[in-house]
Symmetry: C2
Subunit: 525 residues, 2 copies
């Protein structure tokens, strides 16, 4: 299957008529065919209308059928075969192994959500049976479940053309919740998007889903995206991208006559703390691990370690010189888009020109287009505390080591941090008390706290939190990775005194769906 340059609305595929978008092969700078004529308000209207009309049937589908749909999407993506990987490589500059791994993750994620839908925890079933004899007033029968919010708009991210894009985590969790999804494709990988979109479309057909459960629109600029977020039929938004882009969507969503939630994952610099004994014991290994994490995928991860924080010591000097040396061996890597490359260069330039910052070293340079040359800097805690610009995310393999005078200053740096997706502690047993004193602040700053690992590598599981306080995300009460992500697209409804025949199946006597329940506040499995 080769991409054709078509928009997908329900089971239809067609050429729109606006200005054409072309992907750029970032490794060569060449323009890739086919072009994708931008959609217009007519396509927004059609996709939203179909999504709304599909909404009721889809959200009230039996969990079994919705799970099958998710499983089938995974099957259909795998069935595309190598053409998907090749197209992804052309459009993203990412290596084959990375995209094959990402495809595995994407399909695994869809199947995880299928199992989540079947297990039924997401329904959050609560039953408070009637107490007709209660004094002074009897209690009527009250039951609660969660239902889908309605149509969701998902913005594909550039840095995971499969796992955070057309059939990525946002789409999988929204579909799992029972929400129709309209994806606004990222213009950096339209062909990859179309191929995956056709797989979802085929799965919808195969599973006899109501038409409109999925659509995929292409458009240049922000017009289509803003129109989608403004449409009254859309009930929530999932986004992964820049802080500016996320905040623009938040503003649009709040300005609607009926405001809606926006789940925007935006900006994080992911501090790594090197505690004294860990530095003392393994400064060389830490330097290698750190540079490995920083170099991975040209640092184009939301969880790339953009900040290293430690107290000055001989061992820290050893770490710094080992890291400065290790970074010189980091090969140049093709970045995802010319825009990301240019933003990276600007970010690195701003750090280089900052009087409070000193360069520690760079990776290998390259003359090829859009190459990321890794960069490592250092600054004092004082300078970091006084210069908010040093908290700006530089998306790519750039990081800053902050040298603190003592633990008290290290804590002041921590308190100054904005919200983060992750915070990492490198420690030995002798560092336990220092780690313990840091933890409460880290809990308030980050969605995930790691010990003796590196923040890159986000496990898709039930306990994962890929989220965190603003600006890491727009809503710290949620995660965009892992099974908890389904809760973003659900809301509770209470049913008071409904006859059995009218109750949703999950709430009926005898627990026909065999889901865990909270009965009178007690958990029954």
């Amino acid at each position: 299957m080769q991409p054709k340059g078509q928009q997908l609305i329900g089971q239809d595929a067609f050429f729109a008529t606006g200005a054409a978008i072309h992907a750029i092969n970032p490794a060569t700078g060449e323009q890739l065919d086919p072009g994708y004529a931008s959609g217009s308000s007519a396509e927004v209207e059609r996709a939203c209308g179909l999504a709304e009309s599909a909404s009721l049937e889809f959200r009230t589908l039996s969990p079994q059928l919705r799970a099958e749909f998710l499983d089938t999407i995974a099957d259909q993506i795998e069935a595309i075969g190598d053409e998907l990987i090749e197209r992804g490589m052309l459009e993203s500059g990412l290596p084959r192994a990375r995209l094959e791994g990402e495809r595995g993750r994407t399909c695994g994620q869809l199947r995880l959500f299928a199992s989540v839908v079947r297990a039924g925890e997401w329904l959050d079933v609560r039953i408070d049976p009637a107490l007709p004899e209660r004094k002074p007033l009897p209690r009527v029968d009250l039951r609660q479940q969660h239902i889908a919010l309605g149509p969701v708009v998902v913005f594909g991210a550039s840095n995971f053309p499969l796992a955070f894009s057309v059939a990525g985590g946002d789409t999988a969790s929204a579909l799992a919740a029972g929400c129709p999804v309209i994806v606004k494709a990222h213009s950096a990988h339209p062909g990859t998007s179309e191929l995956v979109g056709r797989a979802v479309q085929a799965a919808a057909k195969q599973c006899k889903m109501p038409e409109g459960v999925f659509s995929l629109l292409f458009g240049s600029g922000n017009d289509i995206g803003q129109a989608l977020v403004s449409d009254p039929r859309v009930k929530a938004v999932g986004f992964t991208g820049s802080r500016r882009g996320g905040m623009a969507l938040m503003a649009t969503a709040q300005a609607r006559p009926q405001p809606i939630p926006v789940y925007a994952e935006m900006s994080s610099i992911n501090p790594v703390y090197l505690l004294p004994e860990a530095l003392e014991t393994r400064s060389q290994a830490l330097a290698e691990g750190f540079i490995g994490s920083l170099a991975m995928g040209a640092g184009q991860f939301c969880t790339s370690p953009g900040l290293v924080i430690a107290v000055r010591s001989q061992a820290l000097d050893d770490f710094v010189s080992a890291a400065s040396k290790a970074i010189t061996a980091v090969a140049a890597q093709t970045m995802l888009t010319p825009g990301i490359h240019s933003a990276y260069q600007q970010g690195v330039k701003a750090l280089s020109e900052n009087a409070g910052v000193r360069s520690l070293g760079n990776g290998v340079e390259s003359e090829a287009p859009n190459q990321c040359q890794a960069a490592l800097f250092t600054t004092s805690a004082e300078a970091f505390i006084n210069d908010h610009n040093l908290q700006d995310e530089v998306f790519g393999s750039s990081s800053v080591v902050i040298e603190c005078d003592d633990m008290a200053q290290l804590k002041r740096v921590t308190e100054k941090l904005e919200g983060q997706l992750t915070a990492t502690i490198q420690m030995e047993e002798a560092d336990t008390e220092q780690a313990r004193s840091l933890l409460p602040t880290l809990e308030e700053k980050a969605g995930r706290i790691l010990v003796n690992g590196w923040p890159t590598g986000v496990e898709v599981c039930h306990a994962m939190v890929h989220g965190g306080p603003f600006p890491a995300t727009s809503d710290s009460r949620s995660t965009s990775v892992g099974s908890s992500a389904i809760h973003r697209f659900l809301r509770p409804v209470c049913y008071q005194n409904l006859p059995q025949a009218l109750l949703p199946e999950a709430l009926r006597d005898g627990n026909p769906l065999k889901v865990s329940q909270l009965v009178d506040g007690k958990r029954i499995v």
Copy 2:
């Protein structure tokens, strides 16, 4: 104990220095002493500073100790004795029995949240154990729990001077979650607020809570409230009141450098559907039940039935004439404040002057100050669909009967409705199919669906949802009544590969807190 006119910050009680607020006895119009000198930015600063400093200790307190605090608040409120009821009657015009009932509900609610804190479901513990042998990559140990968001600002509501005010549902659920609370007292019942605030203060002292876990500020106008919502140390807001008030807080919260969630419960007209067979069988009883619900508490409930929707028939005519007759017997009742009374009169006047609306009758008139004279109107479905003003909440005992030509038109009316706290269906078995066809739309419009009851009367339990799509609330994903309300003030944190000594107690091996867990996606009790 008599109120003194003091602000409460932490364990301090003192007189502020701004312009004085006096409660008005709405039954007489007379001004009540003491006056409450308005607080200023200095008090906001002090309360927020103390709340922040209390935050860590309070959120990491053992569930047992936090539960004791909640129980002790209930004990202390009861210990105030009759002076609380008498002060509440003076300030609100509400009758003794209602306030005694409300005190019972308030204390019951605090004790419910104590039991919720002890049970630990709110922690949402998830454990994905390490899989060191997994291929191609091992999985590290990942655990998740929920933690408190941080200091919460609560705005007391005028219509429940106990249950939705200083120690009402928002405060109880925020404290249960581990969030320090700063209450902005409602200026309609400052004395009642101070008495309850002193009870919370005494409980905090008795239970040795960190100072700042609770403060109570008084202030006229919006200055104090806006300053509290703008303060960077505040992490969430609970509000019950007008649509305009709620939306102003939402705008302030979104405009902060770090936006925060606002849980505003604002506006709902609570449609009641009378299905044909129910009308046929019991039009007289329905009329009496409806007028009883409408008249209760002068209609000053968020869930007062402001809309009755039915298909034209002889039985509907019978209902209408019975309701028109029953309303003439509704005694005038003192409304909560001159402001609410004046808004009610304006709302009723607007309906009276609306060309598409016809008056069906009124309750007993009274010359006494601030009296609610019940009012019943009727209009056609066509008129309702075409005039959005008819969806404006008229807070008080006013309701509109919408007569529809057929079920199809009744459904169009339903689709036009804004978000609601409740939707009620009056039905007999023969109405089942019609009810079934209505239900999906009602699920999308309302937080609670009732059959054969009346929406006034909100049970405080585990399955309750007192929430709903905008403008019923600012966030349909939550409830402000019932044990689920605790989730508004929590966020998930993931702990990756933490040594046992550093893990929060709830996540340690052996489940020391004995809470239910999701282990590898499976529920373990």
